[in-house]
Amino acid sequence: MEQAILTSKQGKVGLITINRPEVRNALDLKTWELLLIAFNELDNDNSVSVIVVTGAGDKAFVAGADLNTLKARNSVATFYGEIPSIVAKIEKIKKPTIAAINGFALGGGLELAMACDIRIAADSAKLGQTESNVGILPGAGGTQRLSRLVGIGKAKELIYTGDIITAQEALSIGLVNRVVPSADLMKETMITASKIAKKSPIVLQVAKRVVSSGADTDLASALTLELLAQSFVFSTNDHMEGICSFLEKREPEFKGD
C-alpha cells in the first residue's frame, strides 16, 4: 500500500510529498499526524537545512479536509481536536519551510501552506479559504494567518465568500511569494531552497524565530529580541566563517555551530 506521506532528501533540502491523489490529497487526522512526523524527522535531521512540502499529482496541493469525519464531530471533540495544534507545530518547525503549491490549496490545505514560511505557486494553482461553503470556520489558523498575510479586508472577503482565486490573484494580494509555470514548480522551488540551504543553519533558525515572534509583539520588545538574537549569533563560529569568507572572496562553509 502506498504511503500517504513520502519523504526524500535532495542535498540539504528535505522534501515532503502529500500522497493521496485519489482524494485530491485531502488531509484526515491520520495524514496530518504522519505529516507532522515527517516535518519533525526532517527538522531533527542535521543533514537537512530547508524543508519543502508539496502535493502528489498535478491537480491538488491539498484540496481540503475529509468531510465525513467533520460530519461526525461535536463541540467538545472540536475543542480537543488535534489538527489546529498540528498546524501550529508545523508553523513552529525550526527550519525554513516552503510550500510548493502544485494545484488546489483549499481550506486546511491553504492553512497548511500558510503555516509554512514561503509559498511558491504553480500558475495553474487555485487557492481558497473555503470553509464557509460547508458551514464552518477555518479552524486551523486560517482566520488569523490569512489576515496577517493579505490584510484584514481581503481576508474577510475570502473567508466570507469562500471564493477560490487564481495563483495570479494570490500573488497580487501577497498570499503567495511567487508564481512559476506549472512544469517548473519543483525546479524553481529547489533553486530557492538550495540557495537558502547554503546559509548558516543557526542564522536561518534564529531569523525565523525572531521574525515570527516579533511580528506578534510591540516594536520595542521585538527589537530587544532581535538584539538578544544577534548577540547570540555573534557567539557562533558560523558568524566568523561568514564574515571571513566574504572578506576572503570565497564560498562560506557554514557548520551550524
Binding site: 463541540s75 467538545v76 475543542f79 525550526k94 543557526i202 557567539s235 563560529n237 551550524g256 555551530d257
Partner: protein, 253 residues
Amino acid sequence: MYNTITFDKKDGIGVIALNRPDVLNAMDMVMREELKDIFATIAKDDEVRVIVIKGNGRAFCAGGDLSTMGQVAVGDGVKRMHNVHMLYKSIQTLGKPVIAMIQGPATGSGLSMACACDFRIAADNAKFAASFINVGLVPDCGIMYALPRIVGLSKAKDMFMRATMIKAPQALDMGLVDKVVPIEDLEQEVMVLAHDLTDKSSIALGLLKEITNKAFELSLPDLMQYEAFAQDICFSSEAHRNAVKKFLDARNK
C-alpha cells in the same frame, strides 16, 4: 519504559514521579524528553483527568544537572533551551489540573517546574530557591514568566537575583505554595485535592485553565470573548446538563 521518570494512573489521577533520587532528581536532557513525552501521552488519555508531579527520594527536584553544563556547545544550547521551553509549555497548555507535590528542595528548574503547575502542596521540610544565578545563568524553564505572577515582581526579583532560599512556612506566607503539611501527610493531602478535582467537569477545567492563564495578558473585552465561547461549549456539555438536572431534581423533591 522510561529511564528517569515513572508514571502510574489510577482513578483518573496520573502520577509522574521524577526518578533520579541519587542526584536529587536533577534534570538532564533525557528527563526533559521523557517528561515532554509523558505530557503528550497524558494530553490524549481521557482516563487521566488530574496530574500529580512528585520526586522520588528526599527531593522534589534540585534543578538542571550541572554535570551536563559548563561546556555547552552553541548549537546544543539552542536545542536545549527549546526543550526546556517545550517542557514549560507542556505543563501550562495541558488542559488538566497539575499538582506539584513537594518535599525537600525544589530549586533551579525544579522550582520552575513547580511554578508551571496549577497547585503546589509542600511538606514542612520543603525549600525553594531560584538557584540559576549561582551558576551564572538566568532563571529558565519559563520561571521569569511564572514566578512574578505567583509571588509578585519584587519577591520574584529577590529570589532571582540572590537565589534566596525560602523555607516552607515562608513559602506559604508568600503564596509560593498553597499548603504546607507534615511530610508524613503530604501524599494524602495531595490525593484529597486530586480526587476533588477529578469530580469536576473536565471540559470546564480545561477551558478555565486556558483562559485564566492568559488573564493578565488579555484585555477585558478579549477575555470576555474567550469566556463567551467557552461558556457556550460548556452549556452544550454533558457534565453541565447532568449537574443542573441533578441540582433541580434534588431541589424539587
